[in-house]
Amino acid sequence: MRRVLGAVVSFALVGVLTFVLLELVPGDVSAQRLGATSSAAARASLRDALGLSGSASTRGLRYLAHVARLDLGRSLVDGREVSEKVAERLPSTALLATLSLIMTWSLALPLALWRRRLLVLTLVYALPVPALAIGLLALGAPYGASVATFLCAAVALLPLLVPRTHGQLARALDEALQSDALRTLRAAGATPSRLLRAALRTHALRLVTLVALELPALLSGVVLVESIFGLPGLGLLAFDSLAARDVPTLLGLVLVGAAITIGCTLAVDLLASRLDPRLDHAA
């Protein structure tokens, strides 16, 4: 219960933080939409119509009150509900994120087990080159939202994710393999694959936490890759709303991103004793 409350507080803080930050940034949708030559009066009436007049604090409080009711407001550009816009883009982003997570782990795990450190590190960090090359050169032909584009985009995400995941994973596995239990198991003549399974099981919680902690980085990467590849996901939505100075949509996107991370962290916290039964005994 305390954890749930903490998550709610965190989420509210994210809301306040992003609102304040985007408020501090100059930029005016009315000038954007009516053109630089428009009259001051016309701009003012458009601002009124969009609910942009009034002091920042009243608007901020009103916005937070709406968010509390799961209402992210309406887009300044086409007047549609932000939550609706986000929901229709979510599946594409989720697919891309899952795909690249699977790829990242299937690359990072073998690399973390390989002992030649300088070589491995160079490999891990040289990865941007081939991955970006494959990803970006595929742009030569416009694919649209096809399977091939998704695969290329997932590959292009690898350089952003593999180094971080590899570092954490290598450290976790090092510790696991040096633990007393694993040393005993090795002395008893267990095969390497049996050892690895035992190491992964005992450190399951840490590894799952790692995935949850990687989520902001993953979402950041998705924003980048989707905008470059033109995949119809949250990232492209962010890019497009940025071009149109559509602040409500941007705010909504940051909030949704943070909500996903906070939600996953909370889920991991709540599942902790399931993943690591030792926690129950310790408590």
Binding site: G6, V9, S10, F11, L13, V14, L17, T18, L21, L22, V25, P26, G27, R117, L118, L121, T122, Y125, A126, L127, P128, V129, L132, A133, L136, L137, L139, G140, P159, L160, P163, G167, P216, A217, L219, S220, G221, V223, L224, S227, I228, A238, F239, L242, A243, R245, V247, L250, L253, V254, G257, A258, T261, I262, T265
Partner: protein, 302 residues
């Protein structure tokens, strides 16, 4: 050993950035034109040679020592000819971009952006992170509020935030870019320094200082800060790598340093528009070198 490799890699990039004008410039290292000898015109840019480039000087000068890359980063028509998107050749070792500018020259000068943004972003985010971290450790009620804030900030997708701020502000000097990047990264620094500062505050020498009646500011500055900066090296290296990646990402999306400044991100943006390998591989490799160098810098188990 690994750390030395890291230092060497980063030093190489810094040296290239420092010597960018000697490596790639419109004007040569030395030339004699109309009986006048010019030493290092690539740095001094004398009025007499204004509007000339090394290709034009090759016919006029009686003696000429050119720069290794005989083009400046902004020259669109070296020698009076516009050749956009030319593939690598003897004339242009890494080809040209869509405005006919030499990619090698842009790459060399792009290192300058990295050398400004990286250290600056790291300095700002370390300073801010340390401030928040130590404030948390010294005052419990500050800790309650700020550690929530740190946690909340950590769950925001950094690139989305940076993109939003940078995009809405529009344009961008390297300084602004560095500040925006620091803005996205400070919670990492704050979280680590907070943990370290909490450990230091509990140690006997801080208790002794407090017993002797030292003020909170004195304790923070003299007794906690020097010891709490333990993870600073790790944070600095991490921040450097992140800053370079952010610069590249923002540049690739068209929200980096304002054109026509040469930057690696800008080259990537062109690569994604035109899908040419000579626009893609050089900046990716360069970014890889910096990130790897920063990572090796903190590799302490050797």
């Amino acid at each position: 050993m690994r750390r030395r490799v890291g230092i060497a890699l980063l030093l190489c990039v810094a040296l290239v950035a420092a010597a960018a004008d000697l490596l790639a410039s419109d004007l040569p290292l030395y030339c004699v034109v109309d009986g006048h000898a010019y030493v290092l015109p690539c740095l001094a840019a004398p009025d007499a040679l204004r509007g000339l480039d090394q290709q034009a000087l090759a016919t006029r000068a009686t003696s000429l020592v050119g720069t290794p890359i005989a083009y400046g980063p902004y020259a669109q028509r070296p020698g009076g000819r516009l050749v956009p998107l030319a593939s690598p050749s003897a004339a242009h070792l890494l080809g040209t971009d869509d405005r006919g500018r030499d990619v090698a020259a842009r790459l060399v000068h792009g290192a300058r952006v990295v050398c400004v943004i990286g250290p600056l972003a790291v300095a700002v985010y370390l300073a801010f992170g340390a401030l928040v971290g130590i404030a948390c450790a010294l005052r419990p009620w500050v800790d309650v509020a700020l550690s929530r804030l740190i946690e909340a900030s950590l769950s925001i997708p950094a690139l989305l935030l940076v993109l939003a701020v940078q995009g809405l502000r529009g344009g961008g000097s390297a300084l602004q870019l560095a500040l925006v990047i620091a803005l996205a990264e400070w919670p990492f620094a704050a979280r680590l320094t907070r943990a370290e500062a909490l450990r230091v505050v509990a140690s006997p020498h801080v208790l002794a200082a407090r017993g002797l009646g030292a003020s909170a500011a004195r304790i923070a500055w003299h007794h906690v800060l020097p010891l709490a900066l333990g993870p600073a090296r790790v944070l600095a290296a991490f921040g450097l790598g992140q800053a370079v990646l952010f610069e590249a990402a923002l540049g690739a999306l068209g929200f980096g340093v304002s054109p026509p400044t040469a930057s690696w991100g800008e080259l990537l943006a062109q690569a994604s528009q035109h899908a040419r390998w000579w626009l893609l591989l050089p900046p990716s490799l360069a970014i890889g070198v910096v990130v790897l160098g920063a990572r090796l810098l903190v590799d302490d188990d050797d």
